[in-house]
Assembly symmetry: C2
Homo-oligomer: 380 residues x 2
């Protein structure tokens, strides 16, 4: 358990600092919130800090902050809490991106689901806001499959793929977490107020930004690292070539998470980012929730059989019968002697095999000549 003064120090730091500002996160991870806050106050007294920051340091009342947050159903989870997911500590060693990074000083959480439970078996499903119906359908399907195995779906509650992923998880009655760039009490986009509130009812809404904070671009970039850290792997469903989803994929790669991408038509611009990731071997191509689980699940737990077509009549033949079948012409019928020569098998044995193939409906026979009964399969 984190002691109360450390928690209160981190509330102040969360309120006055920017999400993912590594000048703050890295220092607090190493020295603790109380020590960093004390040092800031000393600097303020020495007038080394700007008057504005010094004023805010003094005026922020952490106990009141927690009280106001609690009134909105929001709790502040910090490292050391039983609810704190150890996975977030990986951020201490991941490379910074866009001058953001580090372990959050704390996370503001709204919802019944515990943060450690929401992230224990979790996959992030992210992608374009301007998704196609194809992409949305695939995201929903993957999320539903994850939900069916009680895996959490982490996403950002945005339009398009994010929304489809949350909905797939909710439809499958699986756990889901929405990580926001604004305060956990706010809804961005506003049109997703109901979706976000529903996620808070049955899952959890998470933000590194303090309650009331507005969404800004830098907060989205910092938010993406929380999505990546919260999951075992990230699935990019559709993403433009320069997009938040690819930013999340970069965070995931830096964190050693499994990066996956769903392909689509090469003629579809929203799939270009996914294709770019796969081409660069930065992501594993996945086509289903089962393949996602195989990639992120415990070794062998979700191992898939090699994709093969179902067994055909050909698979039930002996080696010699197959050899003879392979020598039967597709179009113009020939006599059994010619087939024997092509197959390189004695004439009498060839005739025996042809009878078996005839019974199996694989060859046709007329006027002493043989040909295949049907068009050759794709295997030809």
């Amino acid at each position: 358990m984190t002691d109360e003064s450390e928690r209160l120090a981190r509330v102040v730091l969360s309120r006055i600092g920017e999400p993912g500002d590594p000048r703050l996160t890295d220092l607090v991870h190493e020295l603790g919130g109380s020590r960093v806050l004390a040092s800031l106050r000393e600097q303020a007294a020495d007038r080394e800090l700007g008057a504005d920051l010094a004023e805010r340091l003094e005026s922020t009342d952490p106990a009141k902050e927690l009280e106001r947050a609690a009134a909105r159903g929001i709790r502040f989870v910090v490292p050391g809490d039983t609810e704190w997911p150890t996975g977030f500590d990986d951020l201490a060693h991941a490379p910074h991106l866009h001058e953001r990074g580090g372990v959050p000083v704390g996370l503001w959480c709204r919802g019944a689901l515990r943060l450690d439970e929401a992230t224990e078996h979790a996959v992030a499903v992210v992608g374009s806001r301007s998704a196609t119906t194809y992409g949305a359908d695939v995201a929903t399907g993957i999320a539903a499959t994850l939900a069916g195995e009680s895996w959490s779906v982490i996403s950002g509650a945005a339009f398009g793929i994010d929304q489809a992923a949350h909905r797939g998880a909710l439809a499958g009655r699986g756990p889901t977490a929405a990580v926001l760039a604004c305060g956990a009490d706010r809804a961005y986009p506003a049109a997703h107020r109901n979706l976000i509130d529903y996620i808070a009812d049955v899952g959890v809404v998470v933000s590194e930004a303090a309650p009331g904070c507005a969404p800004t671009r830098i907060r989205f970039l910092a938010r993406n690292r929380i999505i990546a850290a919260a999951a075992r792997g990230v699935v990019v469903v559709e993403a433009a070539v320069r997009s938040g989803a690819l930013n999340t994929a970069s965070w995931a790669a830096g964190l050693g998470r499994t990066v996956m991408a769903v392909p689509g038509p090469v003629t579809s611009a929203p799939s270009a980012g996914a294709h770019q990731l796969i081409r660069a071997r930065d992501a594993l191509l996945v086509t289903s929730g089962e393949e996602v689980l195989e990639a992120v699940g415990p070794m062998g737990a979700f191992a898939l059989a090699d994709p093969r077509e179902s067994e055909g009549p050909r698979d039930r033949l002996s080696g010699r019968e197959r050899q003879v079948l392979d020598a039967v012409p597709l179009v113009r019928a020939v006599d059994s002697g010619s087939i024997a020569r092509t197959a390189g098998i004695a004439h009498t044995r060839t005739k025996d095999a042809l009878l078996v193939l005839h019974r199996a409906g694989l060859v046709e026979h007329a006027l002493g000549r043989w040909r295949l009964a049907t068009e050759p399969a794709e295997t030809a």
Copy 2:
């Protein structure tokens, strides 16, 4: 130049043997056709060979075979000929597949295009006979791009992707070669008689099987290795999970050729084989002819720029202006002091930057408060 007796010996071996039978190809590659044929004739005299094979050995008149072939516009190209592509010799060291393999004893060619020219800068484009319009369009487009750079398109003249690939090459007035499983004088499928004859007019039709031979499954499997050997790389456009196109890809991998695959919707069965190849890291994902050329062309000749969206107004900002922009809220406007705090930049400098951003149309201003002018880009 190959001496005439060696060529005639290989004609006999091509007529009496099966395409890609490694008992024949490997021996002939090592010892030469004359020696292998002489040995077969000795065995026949000793009655070690079947009566039928002995009879055919005697009755085959290679000079007449060449004459009859020439009457149909077909020549017999053997190793050592100036027209023989050295790339085919790689087959001597490639693993056998389905008990087929080895350097062909010779190739029957119909068409004006020399075999070495058809294969010098060549890419094979193969795929499903039951292609979708999406797959056919992509195959045609890739082939047309290759044609535009005077690269050859090698394929098998089948329905679906093969046909689309040849047509793309022909439309782009590029060289193209059709490698058949039946004799070079025949047309399989019969519906492609015109296409195959047209390829013989402007390109070349190639077969390891002697003229008149019927297509059989084993000849398709042997044929696929010729397609793979003829090209620098193989592009699989659409392919079922157990298909000839994947067989060609296996040959290409064994030959050290570049294997590429075009993705498609994960909901489309004909793309399953291509996705399987990419998932297994057996193939590079490609989305265009340009990417194909980049993969198979001489180092750097077709290097593509990193795929990026075109430069936006954001790219023309200074670092500080971008920092301020990243701190402007998306929805609810705030005063410049709040933006300065979020950005961590002095208030006067923030105000200067906001003016620049306002002139660029990136932020809106009303009643002393600022917000982003538009919905954030996907980059958020």
